[in-house]
Symmetry: C2
Subunit: 384 residues, 2 copies
Amino acid sequence: MNPVAIAGIGQTPLRENWGKSLKELAGEAAFAAMYDAADERVDAIFVGNMLSGMSSGQAHLGTMLADWIGKRGAEAVKVESACSSGGSALRMGILAVASGEFENVLVVGVEKMTEVKGPDITAALATAADADWEVVHGVSFVALNALLMRRYMHEHGWQHDDFAPFSINAHANAIHNPFARFHQPLTLEGYRKAPMVSSPINLMDASPTCDGAAAVLLTRPERARKPGRPTVRILASATATDTLAVHSRKDPTWLRAAEQSVKAAYAQAGIGPEDIDLFEAHDAFSIMAALSLEACGFAERGQGPRLALDGEITPRGRIPIATRGGLKGRGHPVGATGVYQVVEAAQQLRGECGETQVENARLALTQNIGGSGATIVTHILGVE
Amino acid sequence: MNPVAIAGIGQTPLRENWGKSLKELAGEAAFAAMYDAADERVDAIFVGNMLSGMSSGQAHLGTMLADWIGKRGAEAVKVESACSSGGSALRMGILAVASGEFENVLVVGVEKMTEVKGPDITAALATAADADWEVVHGVSFVALNALLMRRYMHEHGWQHDDFAPFSINAHANAIHNPFARFHQPLTLEGYRKAPMVSSPINLMDASPTCDGAAAVLLTRPERARKPGRPTVRILASATATDTLAVHSRKDPTWLRAAEQSVKAAYAQAGIGPEDIDLFEAHDAFSIMAALSLEACGFAERGQGPRLALDGEITPRGRIPIATRGGLKGRGHPVGATGVYQVVEAAQQLRGECGETQVENARLALTQNIGGSGATIVTHILGVE
């Protein structure tokens, strides 16, 4: 397998974007990535997206994007694994370059969630869970995560307040990210007062829906280098899966697929958790941030909130997470999120993050979760 | 890139299958392929599907299937390119083995079309076309194909009757395929009398909706060999795209992407159209069969119907198509079709097709079309 590098990155602001269609958002991110790379060549396109058929009445996104950005003829396909679709599309793109089949591959994650034509957004998001065994009983996606959080609090003796630092850190970092959905700081008082969504998850435990697109142009390292900035390399890429339904897991509060996926990634890169400088975790809900930190080896089991309470997840802490706002502060356009994470990790490794820059960032971990831990896609990025 | 072979094939009957869910259909085909291969090892799963979110309220099909068939942990993802999703999933699976990333890869195409929960099936299928520029005007997918057929008849002077042999051949062959949707012969009289759907396309020009799944287990050739039967190899795999909207094409009655894709495939295999023994074409509508024959080099432009009228597309003709019934006779479960085509081509190359066996079949072409010619996925299979 050949080495793979990121030639360019691009993203759109995350908003309720009523004025732009799927293809306009995806195109904007794609052109930004090509511009950043100073390279317009695209041999193949992989699009990460979950909801387009239901939300915009549009399947066939790969070819739609190839057509829209003037790359007619280029191979194009959509990749879907619920909320980890972006990570999965990136992984397919990496495989396409690493195999030697293509030289320049564009990966775009895109989602429109505010302009839903079909079922309401809660019903659409529930398609990430098991339709036959979970959703049939009326459970929503946030309710599944609420069950996990309640159980985790019971098992490990945490109070709701103990999860506040995850959301406060996310909002604090998002303020400095011009693309982020939220630019409002969050206080403990504000966290406590937020409306309940599905007990114990309140509005400030949950990431917001939004519209947006992010893109990376992948290529061989020698083509990615640009004078005056570090070149970001893909050091590892690994996916693992677990049962789709949460109730089928022997141990629901342990992300087994995350552990399996990250262990494979650490082995590929020849490193361990102690080497990672920042971690773009899948903090769709505050409980998921805690579980991810544990599964990836940054905290003992049940001790994820301790890291947060000790301030170790901030940009100056031992393992900064959500450095650009994370899913909670930057926003969670489901099928696009995995690409946003990698775009932001690349920004950190290039030293472009200003107020929330992690000092001497050399190795970044990103982890994208589909469903309630059913699909886990992990990447490790490094600088040459 | 390493050579890739088909270790096993599997499929379900194509029916209105109210009694089986998506995962039951997909699992049935997957187990059949593993049984046929006498190999249960699965390192990664690629699922081709278009409509599951809209039709079954279920996204996340890759992981759902891994879970269902007892391959928890294995990498899994869904690949979508509208009606060519099956072909695209197969192509990703081939890339995964050819690259050396995985040794045993399961590719499953699955679709449920009769049990639609969301929009009606016509609206769901229209998501394959351009939502912003085509569907917004109220055009359905069959109407787009009707426009192409009308234009083609005008340009080349064909009458509606001239397309009958495509459907008659498809039905005649389907009778001998136990999995096929239809087992009724079609006569010219029956073709003429069929109800109009979207002029000039009548019910006998159009492939039926149905539920079903097909699967192939891909691996390295040395692992695929079994005593007493020929080993089927993947000799070529290529995708090309065109504009999503038909009206954007300079020449709507020429499948430019099919030509581009098949030329790449011929080059990979080092052969030409004269070497192909059978062609599983994407005859979603009779016009598409004609256009495919022309784009792939079997007929001069505008002369596709001539081949059919001369009997050259039957199992004893110069270029047999729809040898197991094709989309018209076997059925067109959209996202699964591309995998059915390859399963059937493998059956031909193994000599398992009885009444519709193509004599001395050594090289088979399959071509899967997404949208009205927007995405074209071509594979060439051969025997060792």
